[in-house]
Amino acid sequence: MQLKETMKEFKEKAKRAENKTALYGEDIDLSIYSLPQEEENISSLSSLPVELQEIAKSSGIDVQEKERSGSYIQLDQSTIYSRVNEIYKGQLEIISINDALLKYPEIANEYFWKTLPVDQDKYTAFSELHSKNGYFIRVFKGQHVEIPIQACLLLKENSSVQNVHNIIIMEEGSSAQIITGCAVHPKVDEGIHIGISEFFIKNGAMLTFTMIHNWSENFHVRPRSGAIVDDNGKFINNYVLLKPVKSVQMFPIATLKGDNSHAKFNSLMYGLKNSKIDVGSKIVLSGNNSSGEAISRAIANESSIINARGSLVSVNNNTRAHLDCRGILLSEKAIIYAVPELLADGTPKADLSHEAAIGPISDEEVEYLMSRGVSRDDAISLITSGFMDVKILGLPDQLENYINELVKLTAKESL
C-alpha cells in the first residue's frame, strides 16, 4: 500500500473512533486540553534548566549521560535533544519520530499501528489525529548495547496534552536496555499524557524496557503499548509508579508470534492520595514453545484505587505462562482489585496459571522487627519496601539500586 493511502486509512479509522470510550479507566474529556508550543533544542542535558534536570533525575535519567549509551528528551510536544554517545555510534540510532518519518517514510507502512489498532479507543485516535512527537529507537542487527539507553518525556506546560508515538525496533540478534522517565514540572497542576509505544523484537533479539512514572496529583496518563516478539526474541517490560497521579490506565499487550519467544511484564505500583491506577498486561502466546510471565506488586495507601489486571491467552498448544499479582492495603479508604484472567483458546496442552493475593501487613512480622529495636513505622516501611521487590525487574545493579532507593523513600514518606 502506498504511504499516502496508509496514512489516509489511519486517519479515517481514527476519526471514527474519536469518541470511543476506553474499556477501562475514567473517561476523559480531551477537548479541555491544548497542544503546547514548540520548544527550542538544547545542546546537552546539563543545559536543561535546573528544575527540569531535577525532575528528570527523579525519573531515573542520568543528566551527565556517563552511564547511558544514548539519550532522547522531549519537553511538552518538542524533541529538544537526541544523541547517541560517540562510542555507541553504529550500534543504534535515536531520532524523533517525525525525523524518522522523513528519513525512512516506509516505517509508516511497516511499523505504525502494527501492534495495536489505531481505533482502539479515543486516546489512540487522538494520537493519530493530532500533531505528535516521540522517539524512534533502533538497535542494529547483532549489536549488544551494554549500557542503558535513556528517554525522558517532560511536561512543563499546564493544562496541555503531551501526545507521543514511539517506535522501538530491536533488529535481529540485538540486545539493549531502555529506561524511560516521565515527569512533570512542579508548576504543572493538570494535564494529560497520551503515549503510544510500539515494540518490535526481531529474531533472537532482547529488550528490557523500564518505565518510571513521576506525574502529579491532577494529571491523567493513558499509555497504549504493544509488542510483537519474533522467534527466540525476549521482551521484558518494567513499570514503576511511586508518585501520586490523578489517573493512569494502561493494558499493554505482547504478542509472542515467534517460536521460543518470551515476554515478561513486571509492575511495582504505590497508590497514594486519590490516585486511580488501572494497570494490566496481556500476553498472547502464539508461537510454538512461547512463554510469558506477568508479576505485579501493588500497595494502596490513603484513598487510592488500584486495579491490577493480567491476561494470559494461549492460541498455541505448546505454550506456558504464569501470572503473579499481589497487593497490600494500607488504608481503610483504599481499594485494590486484582483481576487475573486466563484464556486457553483451543489449546488443551497449554499451561497457564495464576496466583493473586491481597493481604495486610502481618503484626507478627512488625513486632518481630520491633524486637530488634526498629520503630513501628520503620518496620512497616521495611516490610513494604521488601514487598516491592525491585529484583524482579532484572535490572543492572546501578539502576536496581536507584529504584530501590526510590521505593524506600516512598515507603517512608507515605507513613
Binding site: 512480622e365 522487627l369 524486637s371 530488634r372 529495636g373 526498629v374 521495611l382 516490610i383 521488601g386
Partner: protein, 242 residues
C-alpha cells in the same frame, strides 16, 4: 538486672500468668522449666513487650527502669534481646539488614559477615529472614541477631527445639559465649532460658532454675537438681513443693 513483681498477664482476656515474682542479678543465668502450655513463652514475650501479652497486674523493672508499658523497640534498645522459638518469615527484608539495624547501625557488613561465618550463615545474610531456613538455621539466625544486638539481658525461648544433636552442641557453645560463661569475674550479661526438654542444661551453665506451671512459679532451686527430679518424677511432683 531484671525484677518482676507480682506480674499477671492475659492473652485475649484469658489469664495466663498469675502473680509472678522473679529476680535475675547481673551476670546470672536462670532456667525456666515447665510443661507445655504452662506460661513460659508468655513470660518471655511479656518481658519483651509484645502487645498481645497484656499485663493486668504487677510490673517489670529492667536495670532500675519500669518498662511495664514501654514499646517493644524501646525495650530492645534498652538492652533486652529475645531469641524467638518460632520467628516469622519476613519477605523482602534481608538477614543482614536486620543485623545492621539491631546493632544500632554500629556494625558494618564486614563485621556482621564475621559473626555469620562463626554461625555458618554467611550465605544466608542476603536471603529474606527465615525464608526457607531449616530448624537449625532459624536458631542460628536468631543467635546471630542477638550477637549483633549485644543486649544486657538475653531471653532464649526453647533454643534446643527442632535442632539435631550435632547442632545442639554448637548452639550450646554459642550461648555460653553469649552469656560470657568464660568469664569468672566481671560477667555482666544475664540470661533467662526457657526449656521444655532440658537438653540445653548439658551445654549451658546456669545459676538458678524455676518451674513454671499453670501460670505460676511453683518451685525454684538448683537447675540440675530440679531437672533430675523432673526426669524421675515428672512435673506433677513439682506441685508438691508448692
Amino acid at each position: 538486672m531484671l525484677k518482676i513483681e507480682n506480674l499477671s498477664v492475659s492473652v485475649e482476656d484469658k489469664p495466663i500468668l498469675k502473680d509472678i515474682n522473679l529476680e535475675i542479678g547481673d551476670g546470672e543465668t536462670h532456667i525456666l522449666l515447665g510443661p507445655n502450655g504452662g506460661g513460659k513463652t508468655t513470660l518471655l514475650l511479656a518481658i519483651m513487650g509484645l502487645p498481645k501479652y497484656k499485663v493486668t497486674n504487677g510490673r517489670i523493672i529492667f536495670r532500675g527502669t519500669d518498662i511495664t508499658n514501654m514499646p517493644i523497640n524501646e525495650r530492645s534498645k534498652l538492652g533486652i534481646g529475645l531469641m524467638f522459638q518460632k520467628p516469622p518469615k519476613v519477605t523482602g527484608v534481608k538477614l543482614f539488614q536486620i543485623c545492621e539495624l539491631t546493632s544500632g547501625k554500629k556494625l558494618k557488613f564486614e563485621e556482621i559477615e564475621k559473626f555469620s561465618e562463626k554461625l555458618n550463615l554467611r550465605e544466608h545474610l542476603k536471603r529474606d529472614i527465615n525464608d526457607g531456613f531449616s530448624g537449625g538455621e532459624i536458631k542460628r539466625s536468631e543467635l546471630l541477631q542477638i550477637l549483633c544486638q549485644n543486649p544486657s539481658l538475653v531471653l532464649l525461648d526453647e533454643p534446643e527445639s527442632g535442632v539435631d544433636l550435632d547442632n545442639l552442641s554448637v548452639i550450646g557453645e554459642l550461648i555460653n559465649e553469649l552469656l560470657e560463661k568464660d568469664k569468672v569475674k566481671g560477667r555482666i550479661r544475664s540470661g533467662l532460658i526457657v526449656t521444655h526438654l532440658g537438653y540445653i542444661l548439658n551445654f549451658v551453665n546456669s545459676d538458678k532454675g524455676h518451674v513454671l506451671m499453670d501460670g505460676k512459679i511453683i518451685c525454684s532451686g538448683n537447675p540440675r537438681d530440679l531437672f533430675e527430679e523432673i526426669k524421675k518424677h515428672g512435673f506433677e511432683r513439682c506441685k508438691e513443693c508448692n
